[in-house]
């Protein structure tokens, strides 16, 4: 497979890789790095790509593993200026203004979910994968995914209702 064919092959899902990476890593720069990294890994597997029946699912699995590794190594380091923690503790004026925007509120709620749930929400509600596909990518069974998804959605609902009725946003 040459360069052009490869670019063609990844074109339909490279944005998805980026969005999933961003959902997990939060920062845009890190997500871009992760996406590059994943694509390089794919490119290096070039010859064997044809043997996978879904390159996209394979790419998503690589993305998931890579991001979890990143998060793990970040957590191992003592420096804890992870974006979520940082912004949550000391919201700048800019952040507060942004927070009044309801869409940003939703983003914040989702980004405060546990990583696994965040990933499932991203793949189901944003990227709209079938449960079977998500199960394959995450190497979990479908029931477990449904349960995690429902839990995540309900958590979001809880926060949304609070926000809506008390007007915290």
């Amino acid at each position: 497979m040459n360069q052009n064919e490869f670019v063609h092959l990844v074109a339909p899902f490279k944005d998805k890789i980026f969005r999933v990476a961003k959902r997990l890593l939060i920062s845009t720069e890190e997500a871009e790095d992760a996406t590059q990294e994943v694509l390089v890994k794919l490119w290096n597997k070039n010859e064997r790509l044809d043997s996978y029946n879904s390159v996209e699912a394979f790419a998503m699995t690589i993305t998931k593993n890579y991001c979890f590794d990143q998060l793990k190594s970040k957590r191992a380091g003592n420096l804890k200026i992870v974006h979520t923690n940082f912004t949550n503790r000391e919201p700048s004026l800019h952040q507060q203004v942004e927070d009044s925007d309801s869409l940003n509120w939703v983003a914040k709620i989702i980004n405060n979910l546990p990583e696994q749930q965040r990933l499932i929400i991203q793949m189901r509600d944003i990227e709209q994968y079938e449960f079977a596909e998500i199960a394959k990518i995450l190497e979990m069974n479908e029931t477990a995914i449904r349960v995690a998804l429902s839990r995540a959605r309900k958590t979001i609902r809880e926060f949304m209702i609070k926000t809506h009725s008390y007007g915290i946003g």
Binding site: Q3, F6, V7, V10, K14, D15, I17, F18, R19, K22, E32, T35, Q36, L39, V40, W43, N44, S102, L103, W105, V106, A107, I110, R124, D125, I126, E127, Q128, E130, R146, V147, L149, S150, R153, K154, I156, R157, M160, I161, T163, H164, S165
Partner: protein
């Protein structure tokens, strides 16, 4: 669409039981202007989902393409070159040994005869020199004969 159905669908959604088609139905409903007031609280959620899908990966892919490949090829090429060089060198020196050192052969028989004679003469000269220095050993034999009378 009737409101009851939407509420039921929403409930199903939160249970994680909806299909993709049903979820799409919800997305379409919430993106419309006619959202029931008590469901408005969920509107931003579905709007957010829709808006998130528009994020794109903008970094150019070129440049990271040709990373690993050439290294493999270069190493293969280098080892082939080294092997070739080594083979060539050993082969050449082996053939050189044969041709250059030579065995002093002659094509012309007369010349060869002369050279052989010369070589043999030289050899006999050297041998004679050796013999001369041993000549005195005969003296021992003579004195022995004088002392021990042979029968």
């Amino acid at each position: 669409m009737e409101l009851d159905k939407k509420e039921a669908l929403l409930e199903k959604y939160f249970e994680g039981e909806t299909t993709l088609a049903e979820e799409n139905e919800l997305k379409i409903y919430f993106s419309s202007a006619a959202v029931a007031s008590h469901l408005k609280q969920y509107q931003s959620l579905f709007k957010y989902y829709a808006s998130e899908k528009n994020q794109n990966f903008k970094v150019e892919l070129d440049g990271l393409k040709v990373k690993k490949r050439p290294i493999v090829w270069i190493s293969i090429a280098a080892s082939v070159l080294v092997l070739l060089g080594l083979g060539f060198y050993t082969f050449n020196s082996a053939t050189n040994d044969k041709t250059n050192q030579g065995l002093g052969t002659y094509d012309n028989p007369e010349e060869a005869f002369k050279e052989t004679q010369k070589a043999l003469a030289m050899l006999s000269n050297h041998v004679n020199v050796g013999i001369e220095s041993i000549q005195y050993v005969e003296n021992y034999e003579n004195t022995r004969d004088q002392i021990f009378i042979m029968e």
